[in-house]
């Protein structure tokens, strides 16, 4: 009797072992699905607040950290509006959050999300009345992305008022005046991104920003070459190869963000990513 009983667990053990072996060897051929670690959802504001135990500052900190750990180099274009929403919500929860407006300015407008960036910067300008940078970036975005030279100049003068040093204030007011007669200036854009990189405590973030400014410089160089090309040949270049074969550039620049450069229908060198849009 006792013997017959002890057979059952043994049998179960063997069956279990067999099933386990079957399952395990079957799984070998199955590809692991990797969850998309990038930003996927933006929760409604009150859900965020409730999840943080009612603490809006905690909810804001959480969103900003989320935005920071998102690897933007791997993000799909349709994910940027979500990142914009997450950061816009964070700025509603805590408009004075310094990292939030700083990261937003460093990433969002360059990926087509100018509107949320401007909302974040406007809120930061009001909440951080002692800080010249939010109105400064607001002015720059108006100038560079929206082409509103008048508005940009006005906001820049507003930023200048918050500068503690009278000399710097004068320089910025001067800049505000000079902006009125400058259009798209990529070298200046690159300098501003470089200045943002110099403020970063995190080395990886600084490196990321430097990549961005390098990209802008490369595009600026391509545009200069294209201008010369058009002047010499009387027609704009049809492709980047034209610039290369005419000897105006030594080599095609490599885009560290992967999207590369292209020539648009008007013969103007642009980022390939903006061409697709």
């Amino acid at each position: 009797m006792g013997r017959r009983l002890s057979l059952l667990p043994l049998l179960v053990m063997i069956v279990g072992g067999l099933v386990f072996w079957l399952g395990q060897s079957g799984l070998k051929g199955v590809k692991r699905s990797r969850p998309n670690a990038e930003i996927e959802v933006a929760l409604p504001i009150f859900v965020q607040v409730a999840l943080a135990g009612g603490d809006r500052y905690l909810a804001a900190s959480w969103s900003v950290i989320r935005a920071l750990v998102t690897e933007t180099s791997r993000m799909a274009p349709e994910e940027y509006p979500l990142l914009g929403q997450v950061q816009k919500d964070a700025s509603w929860l805590n408009p004075a959050h310094e990292d939030n407006y700083y990261i937003a300015t460093a990433i969002l407008p360059w990926e087509g999300q100018v509107e949320p960036t401007q909302v974040i910067l406007r809120r930061a300008t009001v909440a951080r009345f002692f800080d010249y940078q939010p109105p400064f970036y607001y002015a720059f975005n108006l100038f560079h992305f929206m082409g509103d030279v008048q508005g940009a100049s006005e906001w820049l003068r507003r930023a200048a008022e918050e500068l503690p040093d009278p000399d710097e204030r004068l320089t910025m007011q001067d800049l505000a005046a000079s902006w009125l007669d400058r259009s798209q200036d990529l070298d200046m854009a690159a300098r501003i991104v470089d200045a943002m990189a110099a403020q970063a405590k995190r080395k990886d973030f600084a490196a990321y920003l430097q990549k961005r400014s390098q990209r802008l410089r490369d595009l600026a160089a391509l545009r200069r070459a294209a201008t010369v090309y058009t002047a010499r040949r009387g027609k704009p270049p049809g492709s980047l190869q034209d610039l290369l074969s005419s000897g105006l550039i030594d080599s095609l620049p490599v885009d560290s963000f992967g999207s590369g450069f292209a020539i648009d229908a008007d013969g103007l060198p642009v980022f390939a990513s903006s061409l697709k849009k």
Binding site: A50, Y57, L58, W92, A96, E98, D99, K201
Partner: protein, 267 residues
Amino acid sequence: MWSFCLSALRSGFRSRAVLLILVLGTLLVGVAFLAASFSPRQPQTVTMDVGFSGIRFSLVLFALFWVQELVGREVEKRTVLYALAYPVSRGAYLLGRFFGVLALLAVAAVALGGLLWLSVILSGGEYTQSYAVQTGWPYWLTIGGLWADAAVVAAFALWIASLSTVQMLPVALGALFAVAGKSLGAVLDYLERGADGDQELIGRYGSLLETIQYLLPDLSRLDWRTWPMYGVPLSDAAVSYGLLMGAGYVLLLLAMAVITFSRREFF
């Protein structure tokens, strides 16, 4: 009454679970310290921000736990009858316990506040923020506000404990109260600023929230962290009305607790 307060202090510190919560609090402050490493430009502000949230969370947990431990459990186990056998009113017992919890919370607030203060100082490292945080008395005033917040939650839990016959009800309802009270500010703020242009939302919930404001305290009004974090000065009215609101609500709840507890039958 004071003997109840002192005995609450003694058993509060003796309880082993306090150690657990202290570990939790230290952990939260540690998380705040680590959160600073995510910050590209304001590590000290981030430490302070996350740390304040951690301290608020811990203090509310402490408050609920101690009320449950010192009143809820005594009622549950009927040991409260020994205390009530003394020639004192039931109200004195309840108030003594409440002041004991307040004192325990104050000790916890100072301990956690000190820990966070240290991590804020240390999290800067060699990097100098362009806008420095304030570690002087604006910082300690904010810690005081978090203590007041926890005190209101403790009073609410005490009231529930005075009438509840279900164990853990004070903790569960107290936690809900803490979340609702703290969220109220964000909701009101949203509606006040036009709800992103959603007029229907304002029409539907505006008047309801207007009423709720007079039933539920807006605990976010006791959160003064923008001062130490960003140097945005607080108006005297914000602090004094905030404290007045908190104190009034505590008095109301305590009176209700004393009334229900005095009429309660234990057999």
